[in-house]
């Protein structure tokens, strides 16, 4: 059984439980991203896999081998750190060769590997430079090169792009994706950036308060969030949450909120639920903007329109709560006077239990 398996992993710092019985099964060659807000336990989980943190309870296996008490060096993992962790006194070649030298690999073999990896990462001409003489992106590549030359069975990335500017981050994100395709190594990547998670992952693990909220492919999580946390974490801008009450609308159920009505999809979970409190999850990009003439619209009070070129963000309020619409039809609606609300296909709404925040059922489509 190849890959990385975490079963009931728990981590305590003193009396504080920072990771609560998490189970993750990373398949061989899979790229799994642990994502969540600061302090959710994602980096601690990664460090436990690397062996840099002791596992309080649970079971960690890498490629089928029980690893809880195995030294980091014997886990055959390589880690790329947030601040690159390059040795400032060594040049690029020596930084990349560090792990191989420690393992006393033959000098010729090391040279060959450095040559191959540096060429793969476009670092050949920088081999003699020290880290202080490199740009942020080049340093990041050296850090990855140092991990790649080790030829580990698992790559661990701890927010490796967070120190780069937005443009470079986009470039490096694509490079990491390409490298993973090329090397096909099992990778576990930690980030708090949902865009990185969505673009890089084969599967995403969303964590919050030391617990796993949901595991799935990026589109599964985006389209069918398991709860309001996942729904509001993924997506920029995040999903709009509207508190509503289920009511009888004649032949079908409707949601009532702030004096307005919206048809609900026919879901088994909504049977016999008239009068029940629910939360409607409405993605900003799934609504259609409406003007005075549009029938059956949900009215909002438009506050501000941010034009982004190809699209625009409409910041509005719905019952005194913020409501954001993302639209590509801004040419017609750039005037605040024309924009009065929105319409949405009921099948595109996510519905959550108002008490527990868990999904009654995700989007129908």
């Amino acid at each position: 059984m190849y890959g990385v398996k975490l079963e009931g992993i728990v981590k305590f710092y003193g009396a504080v439980k920072v990771v609560c019985e998490i189970d993750i099964d990373v398949q061989e060659k899979e790229f799994v991203v642990l994502v969540g807000p600061s302090g959710c336990g994602k980096t601690t989980t990664l460090r436990m896999i690397a062996g840099l943190e002791e596992i309080t309870a649970g079971r960690l296996t890498i490629n089928g081998r029980y690893m809880n008490n195995v030294a980091p060096k014997d886990r055959n993992v390589a880690m790329v750190f947030q601040n690159y962790a390059l040795y400032p006194h060594l040049n690029v070649a020596k930084n990349m060769a560090f792990g191989l030298n420690i393992r006393k690999q033959p000098k010729e073999e090391i040279k060959l590997q450095i040559k191959e990896v540096s060429s793969m990462l476009g670092l050949t001409e920088y081999l003699d430079r020290r880290p202080s003489e490199l740009s942020g992106g080049q340093r990041q590549r050296v850090a990855m090169g140092r991990a790649i030359v080790r030829q580990p069975s698992v790559f661990l990335f701890d927010e490796p792009l967070s120190n780069l500017d937005a443009k470079l981050r986009t470039q490096m994100r694509a490079e990491i994706k390409r490298l993973h395709k090329r090397l096909g190594a099992t990778s576990i990547y930690v980030t708090h950036d949902q865009v990185e998670a969505m673009t890089l992952a084969d599967r995403i693990v969303i964590m919050n308060d030391g617990r796993i909220e949901q595991v799935g492919t990026p589109m599964e999580l985006f389209n069918s969030p398991a709860n309001t946390f996942v729904a509001s974490f993924l997506g920029a801008p995040p999903m709009n949450m509207v508190n509503a009450k289920v009511a009888n609308g004649g032949d079908k159920l409707i949601a009532e909120f702030y004096g307005q009505k919206l048809s609900l999809p026919e879901l088994p979970a909504l049977q016999n639920s008239v009068g029940r409190e629910i939360i409607l999850g409405i993605r900003p990009e799934l609504v259609r903007v409406a003007d005075k003439t549009t029938p059956n619209q949900i009215s909002v009070d438009v506050d501000l329109v941010e034009t982004l070129g190809s699209e625009a963000l409409v910041h509005a309020t719905l019952g005194n709560k913020p409501f954001v619409i993302r639209t590509k039809t801004i040419g017609k609606y750039h005037s605040l006077d024309n924009l009065t609300g929105f319409t949405i296909d009921p099948n595109l709404i996510s519905i959550f239990n108002a008490e527990t925040g868990t999904a009654l059922q995700g989007q129908a489509s």
Binding site: A50, K73, V77, A78, F81, H89, F98, G99, I102
Partner: protein, 321 residues
């Protein structure tokens, strides 16, 4: 270049100068409190280090306390010639260099080793206790340290002679034997200062990013490899700067300890330049002659610190200036 180009260049130069003056003015306006805080130190430097330099001229004069520094007649390099013909001075210079050399050889690496050892200690209580024990001698007066040394090496009741007595060895009069003075002096110096000097290296070690060690752990480095391949190279700039400063002070041997521990019987190995100056100048009243000795001392120290700085700059790109 035509006239227009010259005029544009002149104007640019003028704008650059004006900009610079503006920046300095803004900086002073913003940071004037820092400059005010600097004033006491500058006054101290002027009064205690620069003003006494006026008295250096007595090294080139036939100085008389009755005629004063300005009134005493010049006599060129006579005192320097007398100094170079003085066997006692060369003996003192040789002793200074030997003792400083040994102090540097044994005393300089020890604080680094201590700092590395403290850094490896995981038990916080043990670390604090051991650090306090090794820092403590620094805060004890040299007179008391000298008394402790004299008591410890006393032939009648000293602990050292008691211990060697257990092995059937006759008591040794350590402090009256020239061959024992240097080891005792250097050992005492190390005991007194090594702990305190380790603080600066500990601070440098604390500045090394922990992720470098974590990365090395994942790569499979042992603690020993991490010390050699990460800690020591990372604190090398601090080590070199401290070494340059130490080399600059190589002739400034702790002469109060020498004076407290030596006696005529041990002058042969114990008399250093500063104790020679003290004896000749203060006790013997030869201010002009000892001013020449002191100046010679300072020139050698200056050359040494410049040379060490240049070497360090050339081979490690690290230097004081």
């Amino acid at each position: 270049m035509n006239k227009d180009t010259n005029s544009v260049l002149d104007k640019t130069e003028q704008l650059v100068t004006e900009g610079r003056i503006q920046r300095v003015g803004d900086h002073l306006k913003r940071e004037w409190r820092l400059y005010v805080m600097l004033i006491p130190t500058i006054i101290w430097l002027l009064v205690f280090l620069y003003k006494p330099m006026y008295g250096l001229q007595v090294a080139f004069k036939d100085y008389s306390i009755f005629r004063g520094v300005a009134g005493s007649p010049w006599n060129g390099f006579e005192h320097f010639l007398a100094l170079f013909n003085n066997d006692q001075f060369f003996r003192a210079l040789r002793n200074t260099l030997i003792m400083s050399g040994y102090s540097l050889l044994f005393g300089f690496p020890l604080p680094i080793i201590l700092a590395l050892m403290f850094n490896e200690v995981l038990n916080k209580t043990f670390k604090k206790i051991s650090q306090t024990i090794v820092y403590l001698p620094h805060f004890i007066s040299s007179v008391i340290i000298a008394s402790i040394v004299m008591t410890a090496f006393s032939p009648s009741a000293g602990i050292v002679n008691t211990i060697i007595g257990w092995f059937g060895i006759d008591p040794i009069y350590f402090l009256t034997k020239p061959e024992w003075f240097r080891p005792i002096f250097i050992g005492t110096g190390i005991w007194q200062e090594a702990g305190f000097q380790s603080i600066i290296f500990l601070a440098a070690i604390a500045g090394v990013s922990p992720t470098l060690y974590e990365s090395a752990v994942v790569d499979g480095a042992s603690r020993w490899q991490m010390i050699w391949k990460i800690t020591l190279p990372s604190i090398l700039p601090t080590i070199l700067i401290m070494l340059i400063i130490r080399i600059g002070n190589i002739l400034e041997i702790s002469f109060e300890m020498v004076i407290l521990l030596y006696q005529p019987a041990t002058y042969e190995t114990a008399d250093v330049v500063n104790s020679f100056i003290f004896r000749q100048g203060i006790l013997g009243g030869r201010y002009d002659f000892t001013a020449a000795a002191g100046l010679f001392n300072a020139v050698i120290a200056f050359i040494l610190v410049m040379a060490a700085n240049a070497l360090s700059k050339r081979y490690s790109r690290i230097s004081l200036w």
